[in-house]
């Protein structure tokens, strides 16, 4: 049986893993290679390595850095951040990454999804969506790595989700911005509202606060994986304990 994936996310800014509250006030919390190795050893199912600065600065992540991560772990990992071309994507996959995730560049140039999916196959193309509930609708934001650059795209989340899939996205990470960094649990209502529209694997992101956040999201919504950062980085949730508890709650996990 296909297991539910637990995915620590390493938000990286200028070579350091950081975490901010609601996308702001980024604090340095550690070295990316060290953290990647730690999670791999603890049986994390996958890692996301997200260079939040590169998208803001219009610079791409460095291949040598990815090579360092790949040398130290033997679980799948995904790289995101400023991937705006096929060449860059190829360089990243050749450096040892298994998937590439695109967010702002896809919003600015949707044909990028098509091009990447045609060249590398949908299975390694992840589209990240930063979604915000504005009181009426779920809407998509771009360039969310910094408060000064982020902007509302004017698109509804569900419309962008459909377009991204039609263009060949093989997986969607839905980052629910209202929840991000505040540790009150995943946005189950929003995840359920788009689950039926999402024909590819859906990963929940934003809001994990404790082990019960994960039990909740997997029991109340048919997501394929749950992504989190700070709860893992500050040891609030240990992956071994988390998987044990999920297993006790009849949620299939790799132990």
């Amino acid at each position: 049986m296909l297991t539910k994936r637990i995915i620590p996310c390493l938000d990286v800014k200028k070579g350091q893993v950081v975490k901010g509250i609601k996308f702001r006030n980024h604090k340095i919390i550690g070295d990316p290679v060290e953290l990647a190795k730690k999670y791999s050893d603890e049986n994390a199912d996958e890692l996301v390595f997200y260079d939040i600065y590169s998208s803001v600065e219009d610079k791409s992540v460095s291949a040598s850095w990815i090579e360092n991560i790949a040398k130290n772990i033997n679980i799948p990992f995904c790289v995101a951040g400023g991937i705006t071309s096929r060449e860059k994507a190829s360089e990243i996959l050749n450096s040892g990454a298994d998937k590439i995730s695109i967010n702002t560049p896809a919003l600015e140039n949707p044909t990028l999804i098509t091009n990447l999916a045609e060249t590398f196959g949908s299975q390694c193309i992840v589209v990240g969506i930063d979604s915000f509930f504005n009181g009426t609708d779920y809407v998509v934001y771009a360039k969310t790595g910094s408060e000064t650059t982020r902007y509302m795209t004017g698109m509804k989340t569900v419309d962008w989700l459909r377009e991204a899939q039609d263009r060949g996205a093989g997986e969607v990470v839905l980052n629910c911005m209202n929840q991000d960094g505040v540790r009150k649990g995943y946005d189950i209502e929003q995840l359920n509202s788009i689950r039926d529209q999402c024909k590819v694997p859906l990963i929940a992101s934003g809001g994990a606060g404790c082990i019960s956040s994960f039990i909740d999201v997997f029991s109340k919504c048919s997501v394929d994986g749950a992504l989190a950062a700070s709860v893992f980085h500050n040891d609030t949730v240990k992956i071994e304990d988390l998987k044990q508890r999920l297993s006790e709650n009849k949620i299939p996990v790799r132990i």
């Binding site: 296909l2 994936r5 060249t119 196959g121």
Partner: protein
């Protein structure tokens, strides 16, 4: 013959992790797109991320398909195809119109969405492999889980070639082995300790 593993470079991605795994096992490896290297190789790994037709085209254009067919039958060089690499070893694929290498009596099919409306494609994540032949690259493994990422799957014509099966909607061939020809749909280079064992067993084939 050199005591090294040649990883076939045909612009189909995902070679870094295979190189790292071999390094971890203390085995010398070389990424190469030169057919001459294949004739000298002791083991060959055919990785792959991408599309069937572009992979085949790339193998043909570089003279690699001819070299692979030759060493597979003449020198009996152990060759392991991973993911798309496994699929190009087959005779054909529903993903493309070109002929595969035909190293194994098998064809590649798309997961039938109609079979189960909730079935999500690609099949992505950790799944178990039911071992059909213990004396294979699965030697010493019990109820292993591997990491999969794919939208198409292999169907073998000769049931005896099947060494591992996996459930996703229905049952599909997650590994085949016919003498020196090995194919795995999952990514052993990304499958933690189980993946390490698969590489160890493959490198034990001579």
């Amino acid at each position: 013959m050199r005591d090294e593993v040649i990883i076939v470079d045909y612009d189909c991605g995902n070679t870094g992790s295979v190189i790292n795994m071999l390094k971890f096992l203390g085995k010398k490896s070389k990424l190469s797109s030169n057919p001459e290297d294949l004739y000298e190789a002791r083991w060959i790994i055919l990785p792959g991320v991408g599309k069937f037709d572009s992979a085949i085209t790339s193998l043909i254009n570089r003279g690699l398909s001819e070299a692979l067919l030759s060493v597979a039958s003449q020198k009996k060089t152990p060759i392991m195809g991973i993911c798309l690499g496994m699929q190009v070893m087959c005779k054909s694929s529903e993903e493309g119109i070109l002929d595969g290498l035909g190293l194994i009596e098998a064809e590649v099919k798309k997961f039938p969405m109609s079979f189960d409306a909730t079935l999500k494609v690609p099949h992505m994540g950790w799944n178990s492999v039911r071992i059909k032949n213990q004396g294979s690259i699965f030697s010493g493994l019990k109820d292993p889980r591997f990491y999969f990422v794919h939208s198409f799957y292999v169907d073998c014509f000769q049931k005896g070639d099947i060494i591992g099966e996996t459930e996703y909607g229905s049952r599909f061939v997650s590994a085949f082995q016919k003498d020196n020809i090995v194919g795995v749909q999952f990514h052993p280079e990304k499958s933690h300790s189980y993946g390490v064992e698969v590489f160890r067993n493959f490198l034990g084939l001579l």
